[in-house]
Amino acid sequence: MCLSVPARIERIEGDTAICSVGGATCQASLQLLEGQLPQPGDYVLIHTGFAIQKISEEEAAETLRIFEAFDELNQQLDEEERQTGQRIV
C-alpha cells in the first residue's frame, strides 16, 4: 500500500508524466507536486498513480558517498584487526 517506486520521466503531457519504471511504462499525475514541475530525465517517486516527490539527485549521490565512506572505514578497521590479531572495538 505504501510502496512507491522511483521512475524516470520520459515525457510530459499536460499534468501527466509518462514514466519508465524498470523498463515498463506508466503514467503519473503531477497534480501533487509543488513548485517547478519536473522535466523529462528527472526522477520522481510514484505512489498510486501520483508523483509524490521529485527525487533529489544530489541527496541520492550524497547518501551513496556516505555508504562508500563506511565501506572504506570498515576496510581500515579490518586491516588493523588483521595486523593486531584482535577485535578493536
Binding site: 505504501c2 507536486l33 562508500e68
Partner: protein, 361 residues
Amino acid sequence: MKYIDEYRRREHVLALADLIRRESRKPLRIMEVCGGHTMALRRFGLHSLLPDHIELISGPGCPVCVTSRQFIDQAIALSRQPEIILTTYGDLNRVPGSSSSLEQEKARGGDIRIVYSILDALTIAAQNPEKQVVFLGIGFETTSPATAAGILKAQMAGLFNFSVLSAHKIMPPAMAALIDQGVNLHGYIGPGHVSTITGSKIYDFIPQKYGLGVVISGFEPTDLMQSVYMLVRQRETHRPAVEIQYNRVVTREGNLKAQQLLEEVFELRDDWWRGLGVLPQSGMAIRTRYADFDAGKRFSVEIEPTREDKGCLCGEVLKGLKKPTDCKLFGKACTPSDPVGACMVSSEGTCAAYFKYVTIQ
C-alpha cells in the same frame, strides 16, 4: 535501476552491520511503523546481521491491518447495492469482514473493481453515469493526498456519481499511543513515504516528550542498515532526535502542496485502530463542504454487527507485543491463501512477512 540497485550493494550492508556491531553496547529496541519497512527488513534478512541486543519490532504501519472490520462490513454492504460500483486498491480485496469479504462478494456478482489509482475510479465514474462509483479510501498520509486530489478532480469535472468512503488515518497519534500504552521502545524507524508528504517535523514531539529517537528511512537494505546505525549512535550518545536518512525524497517541511490538498478536503476525527483502540484525532473525515463526495454520508446502508475472530492476535502483533509465531492460528488456520486476520492478508502485514520470509528459513 537508478535509485534502487545502488542501495543494495552487499558490501555496504555488511560494512554497516560491522559498524553497528562495533559501536552498539546498550540494549536497543527499535520499532518500524511502516509495512514497507517490515517487508524489506524480512526480505533482505537484515535481522540476522544485527547483534542479539538489538531488537527490531514491527508496528502498526500496514494500513489494511489497522483498518476496522466494521469498515470492511460497511464496504461489503455498499457493494450489495445494485446501483453501486465499488472501487478499491487490491490490498483490501481479501480482508475478512464479519461474515464475508469483498472477494467473496465479487464472486457472488457484486460489481467490485480493483484499481491502481483513484484516477481509474474517476474514469469508471465518467463511463458509467447511470451508476454510483464508490472508492474505498484507506492508507496514511502517503495515500490520502491522492484521494484528496481525486475528490477535487471529481468536483471540477462534475462527476457527482463519485464518492469516497474514507478510512484514512494519520501516523503520529499511533506512534504516541504505543508509548503511552507501555510498549517498551528506544526508537522508531520512521515511515519513509508518509514523511515524504508530511516532512520530518511531525515527529519532533517524540524526542521532546518521550525521549525516543526517530530516523526516517528509505526502503533499500543499505538505507535500513544506516537508519539502524543512526539510532545506535543516538542511543549510545544519549541524544534522541529526529533524523532523516531518506533525504533523497524527505525534507523537514515535506510536500506542501499535498499538505494543502489534505487540509482542504479532510478534517481530523477520532478513529478506531485495530490493536490500539480509539485514538483521538487520528482519522481523516471528509469535510462537510465536500459532503457530496462522502459515501458515508450519501448512502445509508444496514451494516451487520461486527464479529471479531477469537484467537486472532493481530492486535497484539500490531503493538509489537506478540510475534506472529505466538499466534495459534499462524500458518495453520491462518495463511496468506486463507487469511483470518488482516496482518496475514496484506502483502505488508507482519504475519505475511513472517510467513513468507521467516518460517521458510
